[in-house]
Subunit: 325 residues, 3 copies
Amino acid sequence: MRIKGTFLDEISHDIPHQNWGRKEWEKDFQFMKEAGIDTVILIRAGYGKWQTFHSNVLTREEGAYRPPVDLVNMFLELADQYNMDFYFGLYDSGKYWIKGDYQKEVDVNKKFIDEVWSKYGEKSAFKGWYICQEISRKTGRIIDLYADLAHHCKAISNELPVLISPYIDGIKNVSQYLTDTSKKSNAISLDQHEAEWNEIFDGIKNVVDVVAFQDGHVSFDDLESFLRINKSLADKHGLECWTNSESFDRDMPIKFMPIKWEKLLLKLKLASLAGIDNAITFEFSHFMSPQSAYLQAGHLYNRYMEYLEQLKSKNNGFHKVGYSI
Amino acid sequence: MRIKGTFLDEISHDIPHQNWGRKEWEKDFQFMKEAGIDTVILIRAGYGKWQTFHSNVLTREEGAYRPPVDLVNMFLELADQYNMDFYFGLYDSGKYWIKGDYQKEVDVNKKFIDEVWSKYGEKSAFKGWYICQEISRKTGRIIDLYADLAHHCKAISNELPVLISPYIDGIKNVSQYLTDTSKKSNAISLDQHEAEWNEIFDGIKNVVDVVAFQDGHVSFDDLESFLRINKSLADKHGLECWTNSESFDRDMPIKFMPIKWEKLLLKLKLASLAGIDNAITFEFSHFMSPQSAYLQAGHLYNRYMEYLEQLKSKNNGFHKVGYSI
Amino acid sequence: MRIKGTFLDEISHDIPHQNWGRKEWEKDFQFMKEAGIDTVILIRAGYGKWQTFHSNVLTREEGAYRPPVDLVNMFLELADQYNMDFYFGLYDSGKYWIKGDYQKEVDVNKKFIDEVWSKYGEKSAFKGWYICQEISRKTGRIIDLYADLAHHCKAISNELPVLISPYIDGIKNVSQYLTDTSKKSNAISLDQHEAEWNEIFDGIKNVVDVVAFQDGHVSFDDLESFLRINKSLADKHGLECWTNSESFDRDMPIKFMPIKWEKLLLKLKLASLAGIDNAITFEFSHFMSPQSAYLQAGHLYNRYMEYLEQLKSKNNGFHKVGYSI
């Protein structure tokens, strides 16, 4: 199991910004490439009033602030340069759909999608869409929101693939603004998770192509069971099932730092056991990059590269990897 | 708009210490100088039992611990060496005024001011005073405390200027010991802020020279309005109005990390729009320095230096700066 | 007062992992050696389902995950190479004894101790045991747990010494999953602390050799009194009394970062005043190492090395050290 893709955490809303310029971003794409990453996914192109490029739609309709640079253009150029697929994450108002007005979230995004496609659709690296409204449960009109946005993305772009990356409402689904790392009750059961996502997948199966559940919200002991359900449901409804193997550690009082390699390795193994072939991660630049402000990330990169080397040189499955020291 | 000054965060009480020796501090003054900083402000010379130099007053009256080095002397020497103005931050007991005994806070500080002036008053870089008791509202006898301390500082030092740096009791005025980044209610209104500070300024206008409100406790949307009120009130009462543009990010679960450059740029722009000419920051060494333990800070420094370069080469206002990537 | 030993924070459960490989660990042992450290203590060999080597006992009885490397073997080799004593920290289930089943915690550990001794007992650096169940009060059957485990360790290993490192139920004994840094009530009194530990020491004195209380849970003002009680009680019952002088800062909202050198120096001084001769720390690799991900740690190392140099060159007690800048 290899990590084939990573999110690009712009606009971040809970992880401190690294203040990189183009030089650092280019260097990071090189590090990604060396690690076998061929897909980059913009986590969101706008959040509230912050935007990754000067969007006329977001500026006019949402009063968005003028950004100092055009990150989307830069990411598209770098993806092209390093032969990667770029997935475009949509706009998250941070309010409309949160407060129940799903239609308003859809409406502003449709105009935004039109603008984005008109502005960047010709770029060769533009290979897909990512719906950035993160969900875990079948609440409100979330199926309609996903279906409407995905349909609009595909229709305008000659059927480019649409990716979603939900989370599981598990024991570690705790606000990042709390210091707890687990909640005492109300973690979702396997059955309830299966029932709700069966319904959601049924409602979006014709327009969403890939689902990559975040793998950090459940205990390590429960992870394999959830991964198996996710895979089985995706198969049933004809979606591709990847894993979003988080590279930060949800068990620590500091939110968030790079994960211990042993934990990431375990999660990748469990995904493989569940029959999943592709992994992406949230995310490379803070948590796995040799130039991350968190130096633990560079060491995680080294451990991961050693693992890739072992896979290659031994020409065997990763299940046999271990005990290298 | 350029950042002309920075606090020196000694004694810090909520930001982890960098454990620098003189070598690192000298290097940091060089970095500051290159970034155009000509003013350094000691955030406080003592806090509780911790002190920045061996003060007889604090040792005798407060039982202060013996410090391993004389930071005040070092800062004064470095400020002189790099041709900067040094502002001396007073003593914060962390208890007397907090518990309502303003007079005791004043009394110990008066003796302390006498000792400080006697010990360091001859130093060429000693150019002003900073009253370190941070406030946001007209509570208790805060006007008397400010007026008494400022008067004493000026009287003993042949009228050296006195600086204060209050905060706004805004939506982000949340304890650093909570992980929330905003409070749900009780953020102060513009009118109430104006009314209270009108009264405070009226009480201190003859002895306080400069006010630099912290700019991080209100939403970005409300900031310009607060800045305009601050400027207008300061003008009315004859105080200079600077902005204290915080270089750490108040929106993150980790407290505190360097701010995203885009946010700092926006805040500086808004201060300029409000008619403010001078900015200081809290603070350079943790959040903007290339040798900060937080590597995001070095990148922020690079972004800021590029911005200064753009201002210079284009010979135009910063409003036109942008889209450099 | 010098720091003679450090914990090795494997398995960590609240401090983000640095993802070091053998190369970084070897480098760290060199840094330790240069700083005069001659003792390394594995904080715990297993925690819940995580283990530091592939233990048949923990795998079979606790369902422990397969670890990617054998850390115990590596630490033993490095300790031998750098002529250090290695203390082996036991297994902490994180549940049995917490929930009151002390016997189950003892039983699994006895089998684990047998396995460990059989596997690593011949290694020349294996010089002692560390009981990793951290306690502060005489609760439940903790005396029996300590006595039983210590007895078993000594019996199987020809009386190798046993170390414990309790904490004090002081004002800073706050969950790391809360952001508070102090609690408002219920800090233990000196008398109560003395009474409970008199009883605990009485119950373990024949099988536990060294006690090193953690020094970070009480206020700096109260520390000397607690240290004196600890030393006096240990003397009374025939235990060696060291201090575990924590090298991270308990007063900061970020949990946890390297401590300010001035604070560590003060704590070492107070321990010396209380008649304690030996200090260990939790822990070198995150908080004092030049290659720590927290760059403050490298500066702390430099300050500490300067202090050692002063002790050496002046050939005097550390009480006279200070004012070096």
